[in-house]
């Protein structure tokens, strides 16, 4: 068997693994990244990026469709059609560009990329089944960045009409009838896109509201929009399985047990960490529930073994994994890096979008909340999307900003300012006294801070 040695070996080239590899390479660490599929992980291949491509295509389609009827802008056009196969091919092109880019970035940083399936032998040895045969790699430091996979429901196993997000992003035609099990952000993002492309969509959510990790105020504009798009939402409802002929989803809803006719049933009830099938259990690492337990250096209970990304728990977000990857690389290089992030921004690319950074209203005792609606923002009106609002939670004693949230079209781009405010320890005055360009949606952030201080100008 061929053998190699390295200082740092990373299993998984998702956002966590590849960033770790690039940063380690930059720091002069002899690094190997092992990936069994394409580089880029869930995010680039079957997650963030493909879903954003699909959402963009759906939005463009819906926009044109909107102009077929009477509209305020006075634009007239013929009814659009979509060649889904071509859309998906376009999406695949973007994915290919990005994943190819990742491989190039790793190479440029001086990290080695090994394509194959890794199996951990011990804390310092990994065997990789490559196309050229097995390869044994000895390392000083090991990083587990194996990510997560869609959670399967035992009574709705994937296969046939039952699909996960991965298959939903690769549909060659738009299904006529789509049932979505799970009203979290993945299900709503894909469900909304397919509804805009013409599918009849029904969402079945077990909790009493959609996006249950947020408060009702924040998700209400999304729920309104879902209904406006003709999507049926069953709350406090439980999927029970397929009907006998497989053409419908059986669900217990508040309207009783229903059979929801479906060409496809998209199950998006969460994701589970990938911790099996590659020898991880043999290391006997301390676990935290289904996840690998880590400290603030992303070190596991075994010396020299690190874990980053979805395999370490939530929030399962690419940018969290990326930050962790950089910390591990720097830590291995002897830098005093540590996880000291004050907030992990979270964005739902629903329609309208939701962005949250920091605490929600009521999470910190004594905190106060101010809201400023997009209905009072000029830019929002000119884009025909004045639904939604910006919200700031602050500590009234110190004016310290504790949380920033927004719901509205295009608010995902506010996540940078929101996160910066939290990380910099901004106070209301810091935001209120910063000029925000006119006319932009971001003015609303400044207005919310002003309103918190009792000085709102445009409301």
């Amino acid at each position: 068997m061929k053998t190699e040695t390295c200082n740092l070996l990373i299993i998984g080239a998702g956002p966590g693994g590849y960033v770790c590899g690039i940063r380690a390479g930059q720091l002069g660490i002899d690094t190997v990244v092992v990936e069994r599929e394409n580089p880029g992980g869930t995010c680039l291949n079957v997650g963030c990026i493909p879903s954003k491509a699909l959402i963009h295509a759906a939005d463009e389609f819906a926009r044109v469709a909107h102009f077929t009827g009477d509209n305020d802008l006075g634009i007239a056009t013929a009814a659009p059609t979509v060649d889904m196969a071509k859309t998906v091919a376009w999406k695949d092109g973007i994915v290919k560009r990005l994943t190819g880019g990742v491989a190039g970035l790793l190479k440029k940083a001086g990290a080695r990329y090994v394509s194959g399936t890794a199996r951990i032998v011990d804390g310092k040895t990994v065997e990789v089944a490559t196309a050229d045969g097995p390869l044994r790699i000895h390392c000083e430091n090991l990083v587990i960045a194996t990510g997560s996979r869609p959670l399967e429901l035992p009574f709705l196993p994937f296969g046939g009409p039952v699909i996960s997000s991965t298959e939903a992003l690769d549909l060659q035609t738009v299904p006529q009838k789509l049932a979505v099990v799970g009203g979290g952000y993945i299900g709503l993002e894909i469900g909304t896109a397919l509804a805009k492309l013409g599918a009849t969509v029904t969402v079945v959510e077990a909790a009493e509201r959609i996006l249950p990790q947020y408060d009702a105020e924040l998700t209400k504009p999304v729920l309104n929009r879902l209904r406006a798009l003709g999507i049926t939402v069953h709350l406090s409802s439980k999927a029970r399985g397929l009907s006998e002929d497989g053409s419908a989803l059986r669900a217990e809803t508040q309207d009783g047990t229903l059979e929801i006719p479906s060409d496809k049933v998209l199950v998006t009830v969460g994701r589970s960490p990938v911790t099996d099938g590659f020898g991880l259990a043999d290391l006997g690492l301390t676990m935290q529930g289904p996840f690998v337990a880590i400290d603030d250096h992303c070190a596991t209970s075994m010396r020299g073994v690190h874990a980053i990304g979805d395999v370490t728990g939530g929030p399962m977000l690419a940018h969290r994994a990326m930050a962790q990857g950089a910390i591990v690389a720097e830590h291995v290089a002897g830098h005093p890096s540590v996880w000291d992030k004050r907030a992990v921004p979270a964005v739902c690319f629903t329609d309208p979008e939701i962005v949250t950074v920091g605490v929600l209203p009521g999470e910190v005792e004594g905190s106060k909340t101010a809201v400023f609606p997009f209905a009072a923002n000029g830019r929002a009106m000119t884009m025909e999307r004045d639904d939604g609002f910006v919200r700031i939670v602050h500590d009234p004693e110190t004016e310290l900003v504790l949380g920033l949230h927004a719901v509205g079209a295009g608010v995902s781009e506010l996540s940078g300012e929101f996160a910066l405010a939290i990380e910099m320890g901004a106070t209301l005055t810091d935001i209120a006294a910063t000029i925000h360009a006119h006319p932009t949606l971001s003015e609303t952030v400044q207005e919310t801070a002003l309103k918190s201080l009792g000085q709102a100008l445009h409301i």
């Binding site: 005093p336 890096s337 004016e399 990380e423 320890g425 106070t427």
Partner: protein
């Protein structure tokens, strides 16, 4: 508006000066009559000084650690009130001796230099005190956090001067300008820098008393082992049947043994007034109990142990040590001992060399009790053994007498019935 002064009153018999231990006010503060303005320390007691007037503090006498004479100005207060006759010896002194220094009267404002020119001793802000609640992460930008990490600075210990207590780059500059206190990331690093701790208050008093005792008194220390098996049995049975009485430690028995032993050795229960060349032997046995407190060593006094039963002694010991630890012991409770016991309890070591509480002539150190194998003539038997280490003033106590006295105590403790037997 008058400017009136509050003087340092007589805080104890024979006390001519006192050390400033605490300020409760600073220049500019508004005080009310009877508000505590300062605490001063004399000998081993701390006394709080109340304000005599309502008004505003315009001047304070000095910094913590300064020594003030009784009768001198402690603070000056701008007030509408009229001067009152100051209580205690301050007024007595006025009668006995002419005022040694001019005191500002209600009509005559203080010399101009007195109030504004004298810089107020502003307390240096406690930069080390973290301003945030336990468990909340320090408020600082990522660049500040990264710089702190690189420099090995724990931001939780850094004062933030920015809005909402945010730690700025300038705050960090200040920390870096100070001598390094902790090692950088990883590895073993030589520590440099020193920390100055002012020896003030109680600590200074202790230092003075120890230096005095050790400089003047040639100590002779006798260490002896004592078989306390019988004493422990007696103590256990008395504790078992004690009812509502306080639990007995070994200390009341030692106090009783000491009290008994000095009957035949009056030279041990004495004060050697070395300046006068006189040894004063005391009839009553007042035992000083060296007690550790947060502020340092204090010696509350068990009075007339010869008149107390063991349970009474035990109750008194517990009352006094609690008072001493709480800093509530009165001056009377801290003075007047004729002989002293020092015990470190479970940390009592094999032997110690106790330092005599001047002007006493003897001190008894109690060491750790342990079960040890003892040869009874035919075999080893487990016995509860405890050493005692007694020091004597060798100027007035000869080695022979010291040894005899220690043997006497040993005999009493080994056969505790002798302690309680009336002869």
């Amino acid at each position: 508006m008058n400017i009136l002064s509050v003087k340092l009153p007589d805080v104890g018999e024979g006390v001519t000066e006192a050390e400033l231990a605490e300020w409760h006010v600073k220049v500019g503060d508004i005080v009310k009559e009877d508000d505590v303005i300062a605490a001063v320390m004399t000998d081993k007691a701390t006394v709080e000084i109340p304000s005599l007037y309502d008004g505003k503090i315009t001047w304070i006498a000095g910094e913590i650690g300064d020594i003030l004479a009784v009768g001198s100005d402690l603070v000056r207060i701008e007030t509408d009130a009229e001067a009152v006759a100051e209580p205690g010896a301050a007024s007595d002194q006025d009668e006995e001796t002419p005022e040694p220094e001019p005191t500002p009267t209600p009509d005559a404002p203080p010399p101009p230099a007195a109030s504004p020119a004298r810089p107020a001793p502003t307390p240096t802000p406690t930069r080390s005190a973290p301003p945030r609640a336990e468990g909340t992460p320090p408020l600082a930008s990522p660049s500040v956090r990264a710089r702190a990490r690189k420099g090995g600075i724990d931001l939780r210990q850094v004062h933030g001067s920015g809005p909402a207590g945010r730690i700025t780059q300038q705050d960090l500059d200040e920390v870096f300008a100070r001598p390094p206190q902790s090692a950088a990331h990883g590895g073993r690093v030589a520590r440099t820098g020193t920390e100055e701790i002012r020896v003030i208050g109680m600590r200074r008093k202790i230092a003075e008393r120890m230096a005095l005792a050790n400089a003047r008194i040639p100590h002779i220390t006798v260490v002896e082992e004592v078989d306390v098996t019988s004493l422990e049995e007696l103590r256990a049975s008395m504790n078992a049947g004690r009812g509502d009485k306080p639990k007995l430690t070994v200390l009341p028995f030692i106090a009783a043994a000491l009290s008994k032993a000095v009957v035949d050795h009056p030279e041990m229960n004495a004060h050697y007034m070395d300046d006068d060349g006189v040894v004063v032997r005391h009839a009553g046995v007042n035992i000083g109990m060296a007690t550790m407190t947060d502020a340092g060593l204090v010696v509350p006094v068990l009075r007339h142990v010869e008149s107390l039963g063991v349970f009474q002694t035990a109750a008194e010991i517990s009352r006094l040590s609690e008072a001493a630890r709480a800093g509530k012991a009165t001056r009377d409770e801290l003075t007047g001992s004729t002989i002293t016991i020092t015990s470190l309890g479970p940390l009592g070591a094999l032997a110690t060399t106790p330092i005599i509480n001047h002007p006493e002539v003897a001190i008894l150190g109690v060491n750790k009790m342990a079960t040890r194998p003892m040869w009874d003539g035919s075999q080893f038997v487990p016995r509860k053994m405890m050493n005692i280490s007694a020091s004597f003033d060798h100027r007035v106590i000869d080695g022979w007498d010291a040894a005899v006295f220690v043997q006497r105590i040993k005999t009493l403790l080994e056969t505790p019935a002798l302690i309680f037997m009336e002869e």
